[in-house]
């Protein structure tokens, strides 16, 4: 066996390839190609550096803003930012600069993009009644960023699409090209994340809102309000098609929160400040 078989073998292993005994017979193999493929797969599976995460997230945020404009109300935008910054301060990702925006759209929804870009729609602000509820929604989106849900989904898609040179472009020596990743990310908004990711973001959301000193049931209250709406309501279609059923989310959260969050239930809901800012959109 050639002496370089060892390093190649470990390269392949690291790339997650199942090695058959045949693969070790290097007689007919193009060694350079194997190494090349292995390297690419490794780089594609490596942790995405934060600068790239932010670049992808900014691209997705700019595209979202091309689909729906920012609500033209500086006071409300600043208010949502301050709620969001306070929430983000309770998290472990202090390496990010967080940004929050209200989209001028009636659809009831909220979004996160990698790197700390969070959006809520005007439709969602209409459904919410207190700052604690808004905080619950923002914290759910923050949860997606904390656990890098979109980034991970994009990365997996990139590996699936490896024949389309997505990963090739990413690791080319010309430098990082975020465009294909941004496109993949935008498809996620239409398609939705994995159901497990949404449930995880729910679990994180209630914890972060509680850490920030809010009454813990803001997110469940919004879900309850959504559940009480007419499911045929046009403004709900997008959210419904991209998230697990609201009732399922509620009952999962309820099971997990019971017995743990009661001590915090006296924390403020901050209704007045919320309605003061949100009245502009009603």
């Amino acid at each position: 066996m050639p002496k370089f078989a060892g390093p190649v073998f470990s390269l392949i292993l690291a790339a997650g390839v199942v090695c058959t005994s045949q693969a070790l017979d290097l007689g007919d193999f193009d060694l350079g190609k194997i190494i090349d493929i292995g390297k690419k797969a490794i780089q594609a599976t490596a942790t995405v550096p934060v600068e790239r995460e932010v670049e992808i997230g900014r691209g997705m945020a700019a595209s979202l803003l091309g689909a729906a404009p920012l609500l033209p109300n500086d006071d409300l935008q600043r208010y949502v930012n301050r709620v969001g910054q306070w929430l983000a301060a309770q998290t472990e990702r202090t390496d990010l600069t967080w940004h929050f925006g209200v989209l001028d759209a009636d659809s009831v929804n909220a979004f996160a993009a990698p790197g700390g870009y969070i959006f809520v729609t005007r439709g969602l602000l209409r459904v919410s009644r207190t700052e604690a509820e808004l905080a619950g929604v923002l914290a759910h989106e923050i949860g997606h960023v904390l656990r890098r849900h979109h980034l991970e989904a994009i990365r997996k898609q990139a590996l699936r699409d490896i024949a389309t040179d997505l990963v090739d472009e990413a690791v080319s020596q010309r430098g990082f090209n975020a465009t294909p990743f941004i496109k993949t990310g935008m498809q996620l908004y239409a398609r939705g994340l994995d159901r497990g990711d949404e449930h995880e973001a729910d679990r994180i959301g209630v914890v972060i809102a509680t850490r920030a000193g809010y009454e813990p049931y803001g997110l469940p209250r919004v879900l309850l309000a959504l559940n009480e709406m007419n499911p045929a309501d046009a403004s709900l279609q997008w959210l419904t098609s991209t998230h697990p059923p609201t009732g399922e989310r509620l009952s999962l959260l309820e099971q997990l929160m019971l017995g743990k969050f009661e001590p915090y239930s006296g924390q403020p809901q901050v209704a007045e400040r919320y309605t003061g800012f949100a009245k502009a959109i009603n």
Binding site: V18, A61, S63, P69, L224, L250, Y264
Partner: protein
């Protein structure tokens, strides 16, 4: 790993605390105990205030843990209280925390950072007893309301069902007409509302000017902390919730096998 540098920091925190909280009677009494050298009583008083979310008390208590005054010297606890103090807006606490972090072993620091955000795992938190009303003498990270024994929240504005009562709401909703999910009626499309959906996203061109505008709304941590104080929001240590045992999601970061397309 502690060095003698702690001594420089301590008077600074005390001074800041005196300047910024001259009006707080309890805090003043605690400070007097401290200045009289009555460290045990001072530590007790500051601990009470700190658990109520008093940022400057949290700052001083952190110092006391750091220096071992009235409490056992404990850098992990010191870090936790510095961090909470910083998050609640105590001036200088973030610097003190980071300074301390530079002197801690990586293991201690990792534990402290976890503790700072998640609170201290204690028997009480893993098996909550709603009837327990003893003052939280052993468990840090309990919110001030924990000892009140009654967890009745103010009624939510115009919303039915508080979450603890949701069992009924949820089950009725799940068995109600919504669960059928087939009766979509006449409006299944997003026509007639200011649309934002898959089609709009697909057709969208990036709007970098709007992005810049959005980024201009950003605000700093100090501003966020004062914003929170205005609404009497007090940062708490709360651990993340573990997923339910029944839910077994695929490992999030498992590499997709090469060629599995």
């Amino acid at each position: 790993m502690f060095s003698g540098r702690a001594g420089f920091l301590f008077p600074f925190a005390i001074l800041l605390a005196l300047v910024f909280t001259a009006g707080a009677a309890d805090f003043g009494e605690a400070m007097k105990l401290y200045q009289d050298g009555n460290y045990d009583a001072a530590a007790e008083a500051f601990t009470t205030l700190a658990r109520e979310g008093h940022a400057d008390a949290q700052f001083v208590l952190a110092d006391m843990y750091r220096n071992g005054q009235g409490v056992g010297r404990d850098p992990v606890q010191a870090y936790k209280w510095y961090d909470l103090a910083a998050r609640n807006g105590a001036q200088g606490a973030a610097g003190a925390r980071d300074d301390l972090a530079g002197q801690m072993s990586p293991e201690d620091l990792a534990e402290a950072q976890k503790l700072a955000h998640e609170g201290q795992p204690s028997p009480a938190s893993t098996a909550p007893d709603p009837t327990a009303s003893a003052p939280a003498a052993s468990g840090d990270g309990h919110p001030p309301q924990a000892s009140s024994g009654q967890a009745e929240p103010p009624a939510p504005p115009s919303r039915s069902g508080f979450f603890p009562n949701l069992a009924r709401s949820v089950s009725s909703l799940l068995s109600g007409p919504h669960s059928a999910g087939t009766e979509t009626g006449s409006s299944t499309a997003t026509i007639g509302i200011r649309g934002l959906g898959a089609e709009e996203l697909h057709a969208a061109n990036p709007d970098p000017a709007a992005l810049q505008k959005m980024e201009s709304y950003g605000t700093g941590r100090d501003d966020a902390a004062s914003f929170a104080r205005d609404a009497k929001l007090v940062a708490q240590s709360v651990a993340y919730i573990e997923p339910p045992a029944s839910e077994t999601p695929p490992p999030a970061s498992a590499p997709v096998p090469f060629g599995a397309r």
